[in-house]
Amino acid sequence: MTHLLEVKDLSVTFRSDGAVIRAVNGISYTMDEGESIAIVGESGSGKSVGVLAVMGLIPTPPGRIESGAVLFDGRNLLELSEEEMRKVRGAEIAMVFQDPMTSLNPVLPIGLQLTEAIQTHQNVSKAAAQARAVEMLHLVGLPNAAERIRDFPFQFSGGQRQRIMIAMALTCNPRLLIADEPTTALDVTIQAQIVELTRELQSKLGMAIIWISHNLGLVAGVVERVIVMYSGFIVEEAPVDDLYERPLHPYTLGLLHAIPHVDARNQERLASIEGLPPDLRRPISGCPFAPRCPYRITQCDTLPPLVEAGPGRRSACWRWEELQGVTIFGEPL
């Protein structure tokens, strides 16, 4: 069976100031029609670059796809012309970004922007496109949609703008929606609204979703499967329940313990992962997490491959089997 999306051995670099930044290092994953997955990791771990490559949106130069394939419905998107890729974007794969203002035109009313987006991909009359625009804005819960289509982006709150972006992304019924930290700049209350909306839309419309976040807490209730990235590598992948219950990579374990719990009554000191992520301008030879890892051994000087670690799971840690009983980050194996 072909997957909806299959990313194979994808590597992306950037050249800046004479240095090569290894932003994404040979990542591979698949997802099926209607599935929802999350890609998590701290900033700079390659989450955005990884999906921008899928969208054909890596600026070249300074960027360069060093290797790999992105199969969408079996077709390698990396081999398409810009013209063909434009048809895929919006119609088959759509993306919502953290800052809606980067994708909305500040000097055009939102209705016009939506109508244009609809007419680019669908052969419909202006009136039909307008009706569809209002319908989409209703769908994403924008109050008084019919009146507000004449308003400009700055007249909306951050949460409303994000709803408009989602409406824009969904106008052409994409099969895959990529949401790149769409709630990071919003208050928790508004974040909860957007999460709820996305869930509803997915069950109504059935598209597949890649939800990108730096917050492991946020995605817990949102997706079925989680991919964890660290310094451009996928270090772990697991069904959502398994990941939170039994992380099989020290980085995931550390991240889970560094998250404060709002319902933790006797809070103690937060576990913290000491140190910093590696400098991506320097080649990484061993395990990228090794300098911060309490479980590091000599073997970790060699890059651990991402291997199967139980049903539906993968881990890129030499010691994943030993990690199975560990519940506290740093506790001896």
Binding site: H261, D263, I273, L276
Partner: protein, 347 residues
């Protein structure tokens, strides 16, 4: 309005108001006011951390800035260490400032990119003329060590450091004059999760070591629970709930607090799936034109006719002897009985 008066307070805030004028037209006539802070009262006890939470635009930063008198208050009173500083002329205020410092949210823009770490940290010592040049240099070394920075990097520039390290530079600078009170305005919001924990732990250690008192402003409620002794919840220029942290988190009595807590995601998929959530509709209204009655009533699921007309005072629900629990809701007694949104609690 009744005021939460308690003993042993380092900072006392009474009916603080900060209104920003809205001007229009050629003559810049005042046509209204943004009531950013509109009658706020609380105490910050010596040695405690008071967490201040609420959605953005609720007036948290303005409160912090006004307490430090980095911003003019419209009315009200702020007492620091027993002295009413609200009426201090700037000359007297200058001498006070070394005792009260601020840490800002954005470690990228709050540090001057053209100054070295040394000149950033030493600046307050120069301003307040503390120590000889040699003593100041020694103090900078000491401060860098205290916040976990390598003193060898003293001549580097901010851009050579990561976000978490820059926040440490900001903390070192704030501590230079040995202040007793620190306002942290979302000091960890811009940092990655793994780095947030490092900075929060550092702040806790420093508090213990140096006997500091914090006002910790944040929108991340989970972190506030870790760091605070007591928590104040703000909505549209007012404090709507104030108590010790476990009361606020486990027995919140204001519908706004309950909604805020319920919006916080829990890093546990199984619990997250069964959790009953209160989803707040809409956005925070404009403080230029706050709703009548209870300011929260247009977004409150429990609002009655009374709520839209009568402004509920902040009142203490605790029976005598028990720790105080201040709430500004007509029906607070009813809500306090109910359990919180989370179906179970981590012991």
């Amino acid at each position: 309005m009744s005021t939460p008066a308690e003993t042993n307070a380092l900072v006392q805030v009474r009916d603080l108001k900060v209104h920003f004028p809205i001007r229009k037209g050629l003559l810049r006539r005042q046509v209204g006011a943004v009531r950013a802070v509109d009658g706020v009262s609380f105490d910050i006890f010596k040695g405690e951390t008071l967490g201040l939470v609420g959605e953005s635009g609720c007036g948290k930063s303005t409160t912090g800035l006004a307490i430090l008198r980095l911003l003019n208050m419209t009315s009200g009173q702020v007492t620091f260490d027993g002295q009413d500083i609200s009426a201090f002329p700037e000359s007297r205020m200058r001498a006070m400032r070394r005792h009260m410092m601020m840490i800002f949210q954005d470690p990228y823009s709050s540090l001057n990119p053209r100054m070295t770490v040394n000149s950033i940290i030493v600046e307050p010592l120069n301003v307040f003329q503390i120590g000889t040049p040699a003593e100041r240099a020694e103090r900078v070394r000491e401060l860098m060590e205290l916040v976990g920075l390598n003193p060898a990097f003293v001549n580097r520039y901010p851009h050579e450091f990561s976000g978490g390290q820059r926040q440490r530079i900001g903390i070192a600078r704030a501590l230079a004059t040995n202040p007793s009170f620190i306002v942290g305005d979302e000091p960890i919001s811009a940092l990655d999760v793994s780095i947030q924990a490092q900075v929060v732990n550092l702040l806790s250690d420093l508090k213990r070591k140096l006997g500091l008192t914090y006002l910790f402003i944040a929108h991340d409620l989970s972190m506030v629970r870790y760091i605070s002794d007591r928590v104040a919840v703000m909505y549209l220029g007012r404090v709507v709930e104030l108590s010790n942290r476990n009361t606020v988190f486990d027995h919140p009595a204001h519908p706004y607090t309950r909604a805020l807590l319920s919006a916080v995601p829990i890093a546990n998929p199984k619990r997250e799936r069964v959790r009953q959530r209160i989803i707040l509709e809409g956005d925070v209204p404009s403080p230029a034109n706050p709703p009548s009655g209870c300011r929260f009533h247009p977004r409150c699921a429990f609002a009655t006719a009374e709520c839209s007309t009568v402004d509920p005072p902040l009142r203490n629900l605790a029976t005598s002897g028990a720790e105080s629990h201040w709430v500004a809701c007509h029906y607070a007694e009813r809500f306090i009985q109910e359990e919180v949104s989370a179906p179970d609690t981590i012991a």
